[in-house]
Amino acid sequence: MEATVLMDSDAIRATLTRIAREIIGDNTDLSNLVLLGILRRGRPLADRLAGQIGALSGVTPPVGSLATTLYRDDVHAGVKHKGETHFDFNVDGRTVLLVDDVLAAGRTIRAAMDEVMDYGRPRRIQLACLVDRGGRELPIQADYLGWSVSAPPADWIAVHLTEIDGEDAVLQERRD
């Protein structure tokens, strides 16, 4: 299997800093912002983004986890369990920033939006993703994007994060 490195740890760090700046620029009231990381790798990304936002602005937004499992449209394929949804804040009237590692079909984000809406009525929902690999099946776009790559459908975009995988890297793995 052949793999290309799309981002190394420096690139990931620089990208998250840039996204954090963009988020600060867009949100005049940062105290109204909450981050929800989509399990599993969206959660450490959300934690890092919140840390960066805090370091740059002085306001660290609260972070929670979103499983999306119970809202997927492909539950019939089997049970995939990545952990439980958990957050301690109310989403009513807040700006909810969804954070995920890879944006592809857009179906996970659709499920995430439905799940958030069942918890309340956010003022708006935004999306930050580290990589957009294309192949969208729903009209969904990221508001904050790290890297865009047009990958053939068979390829696998593997995001490795220190908190889960022991290293930071984004790889494009060619599969025939």
């Binding site: 809202y71 089997g78 369990h81």
Partner: protein, 325 residues
């Protein structure tokens, strides 16, 4: 921890704990916490769309409040449509009639049928010959699998909290079941389930209410309550079915209370961390004193809350992952 859990449920029905493997039991227990979270939502909608457009029929041939309500709520929280069929007046339904009734229910395109029946084996027979997913909600003296699952889940949550270990299981946990074992489907399902999960099970009660060869199930038996609860992590009181008194199986309620009631005196002989459970409904001050039932060591109401989450997990696994005929 694997990247994502890809264990897949393959059974069409949930008939009894005897048929389940340890892996299958653990898959159900591991599927439940996300449903606990759904019921605990403070704002918004306490519902998920996993069974949207599916029909769940609660078909109860015996009286039941808790179990029927719990199944109904579980189905509703999964967004299913639900129908409840009133208890049949006839207590002994012949095989053919039961099949016919089920064929008629199925003609309404049911997905799940939750069956409580006084005849042991009724869910088993129906499961083999009908397309709907059958869940046994108690059959005669045979089994009550969702009760055993919610009990195991409740025990596991407490063991995990006590040991501060989110992966702890029931291996080596000592569970003592006290009361009328002979007539209890709750006891049978719990013994199967707890043994498969590696727990040590001790049974205690009047000799007339403990089946003579029950030791074959790998359990300890004692007729002395103090001895039974001394080492127990969990003390599980069963409901005394008062109508059994007329069968002459124990001399008097007073004697049962004196020898086997779980009360504050009995609890003095238990470990300080021991917890008390009961499947409900309680005969207050008969098998369990009010001070203990409502006391700090009772986790009886948690059993009830967890029951909804476990039944959501079972229905979700059967419908969205299990095979249909």
């Amino acid at each position: 921890m694997p990247d994502s859990d890809r264990r897949v449920w393959t059974k069409k029905d949930l008939v009894g704990m005897e048929d389940l493997s340890r892996d299958e039991i653990e898959l159900i227990l591991d599927t439940a916490p996300q449903f606990v979270e759904v019921s605990r939502r403070e704002s918004g909608i306490k519902k998920v769309p996993l069974l949207q457009g599916r029909l769940v029929v609660n078909w109860f041939h015996e009286a039941s409040t808790r179990t029927r309500t719990s199944f109904e709520l579980a189905a509703k929280r999964l967004s299913a449509d639900t129908l409840s069929m009133a208890a049949s007046t006839s207590s002994s339904v012949k095989g053919e009639t039961l099949h016919d009734t089920l064929h008629n229910i199925e003609a309404m395109n049911t997905d799940v049928i939750v069956l409580r029946h006084s005849a042991a084996g009724a869910p088993h027979i129906l499961a083999k010959s009908h397309a709907s997913h059958i869940i046994n909600a108690g059959d005669g003296r045979h089994e009550h699998p969702t009760q055993a699952l919610l009990d195991a889940f409740t025990i596991r949550e407490h063991i995990r909290a006590q040991r501060n270990d989110p992966t702890a299981n029931l291996e080596g946990v000592k569970v003592t079941i006290v009361g009328d074992i002979e007539h209890s489907r709750v006891a049978r399902s719990n013994i199967f389930c707890l043994k498969k999960l590696g727990a040590e099970v001790t049974l205690c009660g009047p000799a007339t209410l403990i089946p003579p060869h029950i030791g074959h199930m790998g359990v300890n038996v004692t007729y002395n309550l103090r001895e039974a609860i001394r080492e127990a992590d969990i003390i599980y009181a069963l409901r005394i079915q008062l109508e059994r008194q007329h069968d002459g199986l124990f001399p008097s309620l007073r004697e049962y209370i004196r020898l086997f009631r779980i009360d504050s005196d009995a609890m003095k002989h238990a470990k300080p961390t021991a917890l008390v459970m009961h499947p409900g409904p309680i005969n207050r001050d008969i098998e369990l004193s009010t001070t203990v039932a409502d006391g700090p060591r009772s986790i009886i109401l948690e059993q009830v809350s967890n029951g909804v989450a476990i039944r959501m997990a079972v229905m979700h696994l059967l419908v969205n992952s299990g095979k249909r005929r």
